[in-house]
Structure formats: structure tokens, C-alpha cells
């Protein structure tokens, strides 16, 4: 028995729609076919029963939608705030900026913590973006502006980032500060529009990305192969978050179509969908237990959606807040929700009672990204004022 090697095309013109897209290679009766993932799904639906006209299908969708609404209403017996009335009120928070990191020369667009709780990577509008450590910085040059997404590998040995270049590239980190990191870059993901978010799954070997082309995709880092793609958003996908590891293989994504969708990583299915926001969903984050998620939107609200009740259970808004929220994160216990807004502030909400607990001032421009450290003792906010602030 000998090994066979053969060429698999991972990006190029699709055999059926002739557009340049990431391809999935399959064999139909030993004939190799390269379809893009959307055509694959359409092909899977084509062999279904005939005798269905467009009108009959439209009528069916309407009735299914109505049924969904009713099912959800039936279970809405009480508000979260009522259930939480008996919970103790929170004492005043004493949060201050402990550190201001000023290494960037331009707007900071995204940041991520390393699992060792000390290092962070952040990306900005201009090519070079520093990797911060309390005592050192590495700067990595990228041949593109607007690096909109960055992520630290779970092992801490690599970072992934991407943006307007439509790609997600992985850079292995080394201890040698003088080494040129850009030389070791590996292009992993390729979309047909800007990359808006990326994250490693539980290992260094797979990356989940979401893009302005309306899809999210799971890639193998070593080969650059597209493992699974997720179609369902009708506009740019702006954000994604992986479920906390105990609960399983799902992730949530939010997009410009005002929807937040839950996906199964293995099958590529869209399991649940939530569309109560009135504008683009800028950021989604899972609740620490994995049973709910929060979203931040341009409609100036943050909302909490429960996955098992399949509906929105709480909305965090105030008449005085009119600017869109760009990012959210939960504190370790899930009691506090921190949200960064375009009015340069960070609002802290009591998740259970739905009230605002504090407002944090300090940034001099929009807050673009906000993340808690892995041990929950501090959080970092990145802003268009070129700085990152660590609050504790």
C-alpha cells in the first residue's frame, strides 16, 4: 500500500457559481468537484420533493414564523428582573484605571488576553501592532491597515490577526525580541471580504473566523483547509464568541442584519436565531455558564438572550445613552456586564436586575474592544484614542 498525494484546491472559482471563494472538495462518483460552501448547501436541498411551488413555500415560511413567535410567547411567564428582586443589591464598585498602555500610534481596534493572564495582543489601524507584556512589547508589521481582529492562541505561542486584507494570518511568537515576526507569518483563512473577528478554538490547531462576506468559517491552521462554513447571515458578520468549553461545540455570531445566530461547529447548522435588536449587532459574548449570551448593538442597547428559553430575557438601556455599544464582556460570576460605547464611556450593568451600576470615564475616544482577563481580576479596554486601559 502506498500513500497517494494529490492536489486539493482550497480557493478559487467555484464549479457551479464561478465566483472566487474558499472551496470544499468533494467526490461524486469518483469525480472531484470543487464547490463553494454555499453551492454545496443549495445542492443538498435540490433533490428534495417536487410539487412545491414558490408560493407554497412562502406560505409555509410565514406560518412557521408565526408558530415560532407563539411558542416563544407561551413560555414568557415572568421577567428576569422580577425573579432577581430578592437578590442582594450590589455594593458600589471601586474601579479605576490601573494602567494605561500607550504603545500604539493609531486607533486600537481589537485586543485579546493570553491565558497566562499577563500578556495581551492588540491590533490597530496602522500596520504595526504591539504585543504587550508588562515589561516588553513586540511589534509586528502587517502589510495592511485596519487590523480588525486579533486573538491569542490558547498555548500563548501564537497570535492570529486579520482585517481589510480578507485574511487571517497566524504568527508564531518567539522569545527573541529582535526576531522578525512577520517573516514567519502563515495565512490561514481567506474570505471574500474583510475579516471582522477571529478566535482559536480549544487548541492551537483550528481557527474560527467571521467576515464581512456574511459567513463564518472554521479552518485548520496547519493546512489552511476550510473545515466547515456557516451560512445564514444576510449581511456582514461582525462578531463571534465560542461557547465556554464545558457546554459544547457551539458558537454565537452577530451581524449587520441585526441578528444573533447560534451555530453547531460540527454540522454547520444554525441552531437558533435571535432578531430583536434594532440595529447592527457589534459584539456578542457568552454568559460564563454557557446558557445565555449578551449582545451589544448600534441601537444603544445591550441585551441578554437565554438559549434554553430561546428568547431575549433582559435589555440594558437608558434614555440617556444614545450612542451605540461596541463591545461587551461579563465579569467572572456573570453578575456584572461591562459594555463599551461610542460615547467614550464604559457602562457597568447588573445583569440580574437590569440596572446600571457604574459609568467609567477615562477614554478620549470610542471604546472599540473590552475583555476580561482569564482570572477575572481585571479587564482591559481598547479605544480609538490610541490607548488601552486596564481597570481593576
Amino acid at each position: 500500500m502506498c500513500d497517494q498525494t494529490f492536489v486539493a484546491i482550497t480557493f478559487g472559482p467555484c464549479d457551479s457559481c464561478s465566483e472566487n471563494r474558499p472551496l470544499m472538495n468533494l467526490y461524486i462518483k469518483t469525480e472531484p468537484i470543487n464547490y463553494c460552501s454555499l453551492c454545496m448547501e443549495i445542492m443538498a436541498c435540490q433533490d428534495l420533493a417536487g410539487g412545491e411551488t414558490l408560493n407554497s413555500l412562502k406560505a409555509e415560511t410565514e406560518s412557521l414564523r408565526k408558530r415560532l413567535e407563539e411558542e416563544r410567547k407561551k413560555l414568557h411567564d415572568v421577567e428576569l428582573e422580577k425573579v432577581a428582586e430578592k437578590a442582594e443589591a450590589l455594593s458600589a464598585l471601586n474601579l479605576k484605571t490601573r494602567r494605561t498602555l500607550k504603545g500604539h500610534a493609531n486607533k486600537v481596534l481589537c485586543m485579546d488576553w493570553c491565558k497566562d493572564k499577563r500578556r495581551m495582543v492588540s491590533s490597530s489601524q496602522v500596520p504595526a501592532h504591539p504585543v504587550f507584556n508588562s515589561s516588553q512589547e513586540h511589534a509586528v508589521s502587517m502589510p495592511t491597515t485596519w487590523v480588525m481582529a486579533c486573538a491569542y492562541a490558547p498555548s500563548g505561542c501564537a497570535i492570529a490577526c486579520g482585517g481589510l486584507d480578507n485574511k487571517c494570518s497566524v504568527y508564531p511568537l518567539s522569545l527573541d525580541q529582535n526576531e522578525n515576526l512577520a517573516a514567519k507569518k502563515k495565512s490561514v483563512a481567506l474570505h471574500t471580504n474583510y475579516l471582522s473577528g477571529c478566535t482559536f478554538t480549544n487548541s492551537d490547531m483550528q481557527i474560527l473566523t467571521c467576515s464581512g462576506d456574511g459567513t463564518s468559517a472554521l479552518w485548520d491552521v496547519e493546512s489552511g483547509q476550510l473545515l466547515q462554513s456557516f451560512h445564514g447571515h444576510s449581511a456582514d458578520v461582525l462578531t463571534l464568541d465560542l461557547a465556554p468549553s464545558e457546554t459544547g461545540n457551539t458558537f454565537v455570531s452577530g451581524g449587520s442584519d441585526k441578528k444573533a445566530n447560534i451555530w453547531d461547529l460540527r454540522s454547520g447548522q444554525n441552531i437558533q436565531s435571535f432578531d430583536t435588536h434594532e440595529s447592527d449587532v457589534n459584539c456578542v459574548k457568552y454568559y460564563p455558564s454557557g446558557d445565555a449570551f449578551a449582545s451589544a448593538s448600534d441601537d444603544a442597547t445591550c441585551r441578554l438572550f437565554d438559549l434554553r428559553a430561546d428568547r431575549e430575557v433582559s435589555i440594558y438601556s437608558k434614555d440617556s445613552i444614545i450612542f451605540g455599544a461596541t463591545s461587551v464582556d461579563f465579569s467572572l460570576s456573570g453578575r456584572l456586564l461591562f459594555a463599551g460605547y461610542n460615547d467614550y464611556t464604559i457602562n457597568v450593568w447588573d445583569v440580574l436586575k437590569g440596572t446600571r451600576v457604574a459609568v467609567l470615564f477615562g477614554h478620549e475616544n470610542r471604546v472599540s474592544s473590552l475583555k476580561f482577563s482569564p482570572d477575572g481580576t481585571a479587564f482591559c479596554s481598547a479605544s480609538w484614542d490610541n490607548t488601552l486601559r486596564i481597570w481593576a
Binding site: T61, L75, D77, A87, A292, D306, L336, G376, A392
Partner: protein, 88 residues
Amino acid sequence: MTSNSNLSNMRRLVDQLKLEASVERIKVSQAAAELQQYCLQNAAKDALLVGVPHGIQPFEPRSCNLFAGQQNIRIMQRKTYIGTQKND
């Protein structure tokens, strides 16, 4: 060609809605109770709720120390987890 793809798109939509309609749902009261329970169970571990004792603030910038050299070294050692020149 277009009518075919419209048809398959609609079919996809119908399949998707059928899937979503068949999801198992629980009452909001139960879901809310479980969210609250999680919060309260983990409240003790949450540094922002409980507060961090003043000396252990992990990101406090190292304060300037006017004392003699030996005491400086001791303080550095206590705060080594912040990050020192050593790489790991």
C-alpha cells in the same frame, strides 16, 4: 436558473425555520432562576464583586520606593507575577 435557486433558497429557509421551531424550550422563570443561581454561586470568586485586598492589586504600577536597596528587592519579589524581565 434563477427560479431554481430561488426555490432552493426558499426550501433552505423552510428547513431552517422547521429546525428552529422544533427546539426544546423552557420557561423564562426557570431559565432566570438558573442564571441567578449561577451568579450567586460564583459571586465569591468574582474579584470585582468581592474586592481585592489592597496589597495584592495585580496591575498597580510599582510605586517609587525611597527606601534602601534591600527593601526594593523584597517588593519586587512579592510582585513578580506581574511580569519581570524574565521571559517564560
